[in-house]
Amino acid sequence: MDQRAILDHQFVVAAYFITWVIQLGYVAFLGLKWRAQKRNAIRSGRAAR
């Protein structure tokens, strides 16, 4: 493999990796947000009782 091919390969790996870090990071953020909403719902339900 020449230098150009190695660099091309590294850029493709970087692009795919960053894409998945962003997407999965966002899903994790949504998961945390969802959990917080569920906790809020339980807390306000208890407070109402």
Binding site: D8, I22, V27, K33, W34, A47
Partner: protein, 238 residues
Amino acid sequence: MKKMAIGLYAAITVALMVWGYYQAIYVAPDEQTMHEAQRIFYYHVPSAMVAFLFFAVSLLGSIGFLSFRRSRPGWAQASDAWALAGAEVGVVFCTVVLITGPLWGRRAWGIWWTWDARLTTTLVLWLIYVSYLLLRRFAAGPQVQTLAAVLGIFGALDVPIVYMSNRWWRTQHPSPVFGGDSDSGIKDPTMLHAFGWNVLAWLAWGVLILALRYHVERESQKNLDREAMEALGERSTA
């Protein structure tokens, strides 16, 4: 039953993602001039298409909110949740576009960025929707949803400008994949298949997280309503 349907949809989405990746990396041939770096295209372009679609969802949600906010408050709240979900997930996909694009540009052009029409209008689009999200996060008061809806509608006006930018102006960005002149677009059927599978996979993934974001926002709205009712109850008993 609903949980099973969601699980099945998620499983199909994961299978599509794996298949799309396999097509992009192992099946599609190397492009003649850009070689392997061209494979970034299989994530970059579908992400842009999904971002545009979700900004359109945000536009419809914003219009819905403004239309129903006095006559049907329930519909208005649901529309607002779609507007927010569309904008936020659209920003996620647009961020992917703005990162994978320069990675490709560095290999193809030798530079990370240039202020050409397509790149600049895409950056402006991203900034508009980031400001939309900041407005929703930090502003307070009864008019926030209305202001956000107006900003969402104006932000969406940039989408057709981004789409048409490399048709209207001479740009360094490659010519359109679809709807360009006879020289533009994908000629190799294997590349076209790989591209199609990745569009489908990213669309399926995007719809999944859009639905999740909408659900979380609806939960948040219900919690706020409940808290407001409790506060009113406390005041009336005091």
